[in-house]
Amino acid sequence: KTSGKAGSAAKQGFQKCKAGRISKPFVKVEDSSRHYRPISLTMPNMPVFNLKTLPPCSPFFVHDKVNPGIKQQGHRGVKASASEERTNVRKKKRGGYCECCLIKYENVSMHLKSERHKDFSKSDEYLVVDQLVSTLHCNFLHIKSQVERMKCSVS
């Protein structure tokens, strides 16, 4: 068994290690205590500087097809930044892990509606936040939100 990490690498064409000799080229990391499972990775394509890439994209050519990255980035417009793209990808999946309920969910809005989560959201676990907030001063004037928002959005 290897870690999930190596597993994900395997999916992308890198080899996780099995018992035996590690095929080259590889990188292996072990804790010097030798109490832990070594981690290693065979990289059929060792990272190299790709000097054909143009600024501002990464000089590391990405070989795995899962992650075509580089080429697009070089051609991207001002607003469609790398960070934004990641965001969009994430939005589509929406799956994640709830730290409150300690469970994984497939769909965040569904999870937030679940009884378990709703119970948590009404619990006094949030007192730690409220306590902090109570030390802050609210210097905002109240506005009539609806009217105000319409007015401003027209102007």
Partner: protein, 585 residues
């Protein structure tokens, strides 16, 4: 109201934003009484950030960034982020918190709005002077938060905002912050304790997000019995216990000592108990604050370990031949017992007896592969992770932020963003080795308790040559630069310098001066251009060059010191501010 607002907008994207804004008003109705929320300005991994305008009691109107945290965030995490902002923020280019709204699981942190340009969008037009100032202010921000014992953990351009027009900067996003052993942020301490009680896994938020397709990691079975790396060891448990002459020693040497000692702490004991709490948590791919428990421990463990560990360290460094191995394993025997908490059982002893000869070889066997995986904090963004993070060093300190800042500097000097691009920690480590050298990495890793082997020798690059080439200031070969394939099995060069790992010794400073003194594959692969920096500056040219024709050696020297592979000798933010590159600032 939504419809009207939406109709005004043209693109689908902004309509989406309007829907989100309306949902936010619904989630926390109080917001509508105070803010006119006009736009969505950011979406990080676990939040959406909106732009809001409010009228203050003194009558002035002001713009705010409203960070709506994903409601699946644990309240303690949220509170810790808020506390970092309120305690450390508001000065030294660290964003502050103005207020915070909550309704049930919806929390919005209100911060002063900082108009900014995304680095990725302006990296091609930055002047060298802008880069110098950006890094200077980043270092000021880091020194400041590090003084509070905050490890930011997610230093990257997206979290260090830059306003080009006003020359202002803001460190944002304490969502992944951790406390050092002696942190002044109460809630980072609380988190540590909670985590210690609950146990948990190694995954950080972003980490998990990234790997959501990957099979869940095997649940962690152990916790390390060590404190996190104290940036200010003078008050830390670790320090007070490991040094009797604490007050007289210099801070630097203490840091080094603490780092070196603590990073080689073997696990205290395998957490093989199956109490209800733990077994419940262990099924989870990412327990709350899981990774924080790694740096936490019972005070007893922290106070009893270091001396023993130091001895251990030297022994294990010498145990290359199998004959010594038994001794080494035996030497570890008492440690788990001594540091075990009540819930831990010495079941480890059985497994410890099983040694194999794979260590630092190109093999793995069933014995070493049956050991538990080591868990260590690794929250953050892949390309910015320090070597000690990538190699799962359980003790990580403020030095990880400095590394990330170094990656930013590398990025800005070379004009490449992101610089490192890796989907896997070991790929990321290899990319680091292609820049910093495999031998150098192996040597540094040894100092923090990790045996790294790379089947191929990767030469260290001269930083100036690398950056100038990537910037297009030096001709580049037509093809991908072939790195020399020495095919030397690096395991043959192992363990030549035990002093590296010994706190009282100053590790050999291999690359004290990073600028142009070593052979590198790039400089040998490329025609070596004549120096143009000292030629008479033509005003026009200078404008076009934006200062890139005269980057001083100090810039590359600083880069070299920030990207020190060994966290124990890596420059601190405070030291960086004293660097000659900033002497006029």
């Amino acid at each position: 109201v939504i419809k009207q607002d939406g109709g005004r907008r043209k693109s689908k994207v902004s309509r989406d934003a309007d829907i989100e804004i309306e949902n936010l008003y619904k989630a926390i109705p109080q917001l509508a009484k105070v803010f006119r929320i006009t736009d969505k300005i950011g979406e990080g991994t676990f939040s959406s950030v909106f732009l809001g305008e409010a009228q203050m009691h003194d009558g002035r109107r002001a713009m705010f960034a409203l960070k709506h945290l994903i409601p699946t965030s644990h309240p303690t995490r949220i509170a810790a982020e808020l506390q970092c902002l309120t305690v450390a923020g508001g000065t030294e280019s660290v964003i502050g918190a103005t207020y915070c709204f909550r309704k049930e699981d919806h929390v919005v942190i209100v911060m002063p709005y900082m108009e900014h340009q995304a680095i990725v969008d302006i990296i091609g037009s930055l002047t060298f002077e802008e880069v110098r100032l950006y890094i200077y202010h980043l270092m000021k921000a880091l020194r400041h938060v590090h003084q509070f014992g905050i490890i930011h953990r997610d230093i990257k351009p997206n979290n260090f905002l830059y306003n080009r027009k006003s020359n202002t900067y803001a460190l944002v996003d304490f969502g992944l912050a951790q406390g050092t052993a002696d942190t002044q942020i109460e809630l980072l301490k609380v988190v540590r304790q909670r985590a210690a009680l609950k146990g948990g896994g190694p995954m950080g938020k972003q980490d998990t997000a990234q790997r959501s397709k990957a099979p869940p990691r095997p649940p962690p079975k152990t916790t390390t019995a060590s404190t996190s790396l104290p940036p200010r060891p003078s008050t830390s448990l670790l320090h007070s216990s490991s040094s009797s002459s604490s007050s007289s020693a210099t801070r630097k040497s203490l840091v080094k000592k603490a780092r070196c000692v603590s990073t080689t702490v073997p696990t205290s004991a395998s957490r093989t108990n199956h109490t209800k709490d733990l077994s419940g948590l262990r099924k989870q791919p990412r327990p709350v604050f899981g990774e924080r428990n790694l740096n936490s421990c019972t005070p007893a463990a922290a106070t009893t370990k270091p001396a023993a560990i130091k001895a251990e360290l030297v022994k294990s460094s010498k145990t290359e031949d199998p004959a010594n191995r038994r001794y080494c394993a035996a030497g570890r025997g008492p440690l788990p017992v001594r540091t075990q908490s009540a819930s831990q059982k010495p079941q480890r002893a059985v497994q410890q007896g099983l040694t194999c000869s794979c260590y630092q070889s190109d093999r793995v066997c069933n014995i070493c592969m049956s050991r538990k995986p080591q868990v260590a904090p690794r929250a953050g963004t892949p390309g910015f992770r320090a070597p000690e993070v990538l190699t799962k060093c359980p003790n990580q300190g403020t030095a990880i932020d400095v590394w990330s800042a170094g990656v930013i500097l590398l990025s800005l000097l070379s004009g490449r963003y992101p610089f490192f691009k890796a989907s896997d920690d070991l790929i990321a480590l290899t990319q680091i080795m292609t820049v910093r050298g495999s031998r150098e990495t192996i040597r540094a890793a040894k100092a923090f308790g990790k045996a790294v082997a790379c089947s191929r020798e990767l030469p260290r690059q001269d930083l100036r040559t690398l950056c100038e080439t990537l910037r297009g200031r030096r001709p580049s070969p037509d093809e991908v630069t072939p790195l020399p394939e020495a095919n030397r099995d690096s395991t043959s060069t192992r363990l030549h310098n035990i002093q590296d790992a010994t706190p009282t010794h100053r590790p050999a400073e291999q690359h004290k001066d990073g600028a142009g003194e070593n052979p590198s594959s790039l400089s040998s692969a490329l025609p070596n251009q004549q120096e143009v920096r000292n030629s008479e500056p033509d005003c026009k040219v200078e404008l076009d060059e934006r200062g890139w024709d005269r980057v001083p050696d100090e810039a590359y020297h600083l880069l070299d010191r920030l990207l020190d592979l060994n966290p124990g000798t890596r420059m601190t933010a405070a030291q960086a501010l004293q660097h000659p590159l900033f002497k006029d600032l």
